[in-house]
Symmetry: none
Subunit: 193 residues, 4 copies
């Protein structure tokens, strides 16, 4: 019950808008509320009523992914293998960012349009921080890496993958390669030592 219950038709419109927006971002098309409205077969005003700004819509589109990632974070925190926990979590994050163009924007942005976004980003951050701190305390991570570096580094990898380009499968591969390079660098000793 995060919000007032919408009337049934309003809810249907909300769903259509979000679905259309999801399609657009997946095709790499920038969100324009007019455009979204036209494609959804709705009036512009309706879209504006539901989403005051393009950012709000974008964040709404990104929310399910963020929720999934937050869920992964919670699972990772329950993992007793400290190293595997951190690496698995970061792996999920990078994979998601590479697969979903909205994440890079939302995660990298300093300001949020929706409280829910802020909440989810905080949840992700704190999971990452906790996992990193544990690893650092366990001596498997170099001490100069701090919590505030995680988000930038993940966004950096996503960006590097975008520059590198390729098919979706290539991109996932590249993302894992880059992440593993970075992890090498973060660790005090190579994992395969």
């Amino acid at each position: 019950m995060t919000t007032t219950q919408l009337r049934k038709d309003a809810a249907r419109n909300w769903d259509r808008i979000v679905a259309v927006a999801r399609d657009l971002v997946d095709q790499g098309i920038a969100l324009q509320l007019n455009d979204v409205a036209r494609r959804a077969g709705l009036g512009v005003g309706t879209v504006y009523r539901h989403f005051a700004t393009p950012e709000a819509l974008l964040e709404t589109v990104a929310t399910p992914c963020l929720e999934t990632l937050a869920e992964h974070g919670r699972h990772a925190l329950a993992d007793t293998d400290i190293r595997r926990a951190l690496e698995g979590f970061l792996s999920h994050v990078v994979e998601a960012q590479v697969a979903d163009p909205t994440l890079a924007v939302v995660v990298g942005s300093a300001t949020d349009a929706l409280p829910r976004t802020t909440e989810l980003k905080r949840s992700l951050s704190s999971a990452g921080t906790e996992l990193l701190d544990r690893a650092r305390e366990a001596g498997s991570i170099r001490p100069e890496v701090v919590a505030g570096d995680l988000v930038p580094l993940m966004c950096g990898i996503a960006h590097a993958v975008n520059i590198h380009g390729g098919t979706p499968a290539d991109r996932t591969d590249t993302a894992h390669r880059y992440l593993s390079m970075l992890l090498e660098g973060l660790h005090t000793t190579p994992p395969s030592a």
Copy 2:
């Protein structure tokens, strides 16, 4: 003498346009030729005569930095310390990218507006490739890192630094930290081993 030498007044305008553009990009303002013309106190047509597209102007603004980097590349190739050569070169590249917002765009773009840009980017690429190959052959770089990864990774670091934020000095620091993490990951053995 109908060479590429500009008339004195035209050269003055060219300089003003580039200077204004440089100011704008340093302030993080997107280049718009109309806007540049107004701020430079020139007619729009004048700006268009010198720079057919915003991209051409942006690349012109970036050119001096690219030239400096290319020069560094040539120096690095003359260095007999293979590891120092590569690291020094990458360090310069990342520092420049972090200090100058135009570089990230120009280096990361798949297409160039000016032949000079293409030439410089190629020069940088080949220097990087050569340095990387030498290091790999010397056994100090993991074999899975290939030449095509250098540009994406440098852009990724620049992006990470932008997300991290901070004062210019902070940003330089962060860039070096991130680069050294990456280098750790690229190397077969830690440098301080």
Copy 3:
């Protein structure tokens, strides 16, 4: 009722735009959507919403005349006097073209912006073709005149009248004179023989 019916205010604007455009073409001023918007006291966007291109507006302005001509064509086809039918129809066409500058452009253009225009031009063409074929079969038209000549010849007469100039009344006279010369030439025997 999401039909093509415009909202009342939108319809009022549509009418104003078309009226302004009609005034302009009657004064021999080329249609420019910006100009039309200014004169109609509307935003440019409004004009663009209604008419994507100057051509679409021009054709809309021409449409009523084309419809009247098409109607004449249908009447002429019902006339049992084959010669009178053809001559009356062409007379109407030439008179209209001379009185309305939009017709020459729309009729003479190889491409149409509006489907309605294409439809009307086709209707006119087929009426003309049918009337001409009947006359040729009746032996009153020289066999070398084919359907594809009608439109060019009508446009040619309109153009000749424009070159000749004069008051509107003069122009109508001239048009009839030129048409009757042409008809003399088309016929196998002079009508007054």
Copy 4:
């Protein structure tokens, strides 16, 4: 000696400009003095010095054709076969107009940029008038056709041919067909009677 003798280099430039302009009009490209200058490898100022307006250049390009036609007019006036004289002259005029896009514009225009153009147009007109008057007096032309109709009718035919379209050869054919239709209409009795 219609003009002050040009310096040799100026004459060379003049020739180049006219040659380039001729090429352009033959390709159906509108004359723009900037464009002409660029293609001629000359400065805009040079073109402006020689031709104050695009019209002046266009008329200069058309001048040789007009002179040839005027010459034909003089020959026709010497022909004792009155009918052949008129038809031959008009045939030349129409053929020229169809082959050379500049003629339609220059002949159809009410105002001239160059005195030479006015002179040539007058010469053509008077030849046409004289030939027509002779034919009318000889009783072979309907009395209602007056001298002022010749230019409009020739332009009308040229325009009709343009609308009709086709290859250059087609166009010449069409022009002759249309002219012979018109001549049928102008004559009191068919020529083949």
